[in-house]
């Protein structure tokens, strides 16, 4: 009648390890970093919501069609998209243990990221030169916060990437560095996903208005 399981003396009790995990050191780093990315996603969601609400309040100031330069946006999109595939190649080389290839592809990724950042800063400088500053209208405030937050993420991604290049250069592809490369990979591709939302909602839909 009783369903109680009687442990044999000396038998190793395993209560939680029903599914055989292959955890090792750093086993929880990736899921933790993923949760951080999801919370970051919520920050961008609120910024997109703000832009969606305020994006049409021009206060008699310039509208998207007056300001945005789509070829420039296309160029920065191309840079970010290319940096995604070059990061992918860095991951592949890392998985094959090729340190030189990993460093080279990561370096190219960083250059493309810097190029993207340069395009964004050029655009911001151009807008400010035109008098389209964040104080001008609710639309411009929301625009600068949303695009600026994304650019700030890319800047920190580049800083992280340069740090990682130095660490791989000095210590090689040790497991700790591999985990870091994998986390930065998630971060980098995540920023690309956010950028898809930015160029779709802000630039392309803005030009249609």
């Amino acid at each position: 009648m009783s369903n109680t399981v009687q442990a044999e003396p000396g038998e190793k009790l395993e209560f939680y390890d029903v599914v055989s995990h292959e955890h090792t050191v750093h086993g929880s780093t990736q899921i933790g970093f993923w949760l951080y990315l999801m919370s970051d996603c919520l920050i961008f969601a609120t910024l997109f919501a703000i832009y969606g609400v305020l994006g049409a309040n021009f206060a008699a100031g310039p509208a998207p069609a007056d300001l945005f330069n789509l070829p420039l946006v296309a160029a920065s999109t191309a840079a970010l998209l290319l940096s995604s595939i070059t990061y992918g190649f860095a991951m592949l080389d890392m998985n094959e243990g090729k340190q030189g290839g990993t460093l080279a592809w990561l370096g190219i990724t960083g250059v493309l990221g810097a190029l993207f950042l340069g395009f964004t800063l050029y655009e911001f400088a151009h807008l400010i030169h035109l008098g389209a500053v964040p104080q001008r209208s609710a639309f411009l405030s929301a625009f600068f916060v949303l695009v600026g937050t994304h650019a700030l993420h890319v800047l920190f991604g580049i800083i992280w990437l340069v740090t990682l290049l130095a660490q791989i250069w000095l210590k090689g592809l040790i497991p700790a560095n591999q985990i870091r490369v994998q986390c930065l990979s998630m971060f980098w591709h995540f920023l690309d996903v956010i950028w898809i939302g930015v160029f779709t909602v802000v630039y392309l839909m803005g030009m249609l208005r």
Binding site: Y16, D17, V19, H21, E22, H23, T24, V25, H26, G27, S28, Q30, I31, W34, M38, C41, L42, A45, T46, F48, A49, I50, G52, V53, A56, L70, P71, A74, T77, A78, L81, S84, I85, G88, F89, M91, L92, N95, E96, G97, Q99, G172, L173, P175, Q178, I179, Q182, M186, H189, D192, I196, G197, F199, T200, V201, L204, M205, M207, L208, R209
Partner: protein
Amino acid sequence: MSTATHNQPLPADAPAHPHPGISGDGHGHGTRRSYLIGFALSVVLTAIPFWLVMADVIADTTIATLTIMAFGVAQILVHMIYFLHMNTRSEGGWTMMAAIFTIIVIVIALSGSLWVMYHLNTNMMPGHVMDPALMM
């Protein structure tokens, strides 16, 4: 999560090994082929909406907006599958659970904000001409 299995020693001489254990049940790895497929898809999914807007292909603004948003969503899915390697198995399904939860919160936040603020604008600003099309 079990703590007992965290005590495995690090593979000391493993850097050159293809999968030195740390991958564990974490995120899957792409192959060169999957990265290239993802890249090709996202180039196409980026080029088409840019072309639609820059060449002014669709005259109707609403249809053009919906088309562009559909391309955006499709490209986000491509990135999640081919670049972020999302699947239902990584981390015992928790990656996907966290993502689904996040998407639900995002949908609530976005649709709720737009809905509420649209009604605020239409109901509380008499005389303020607000084109509904501008509010998405």
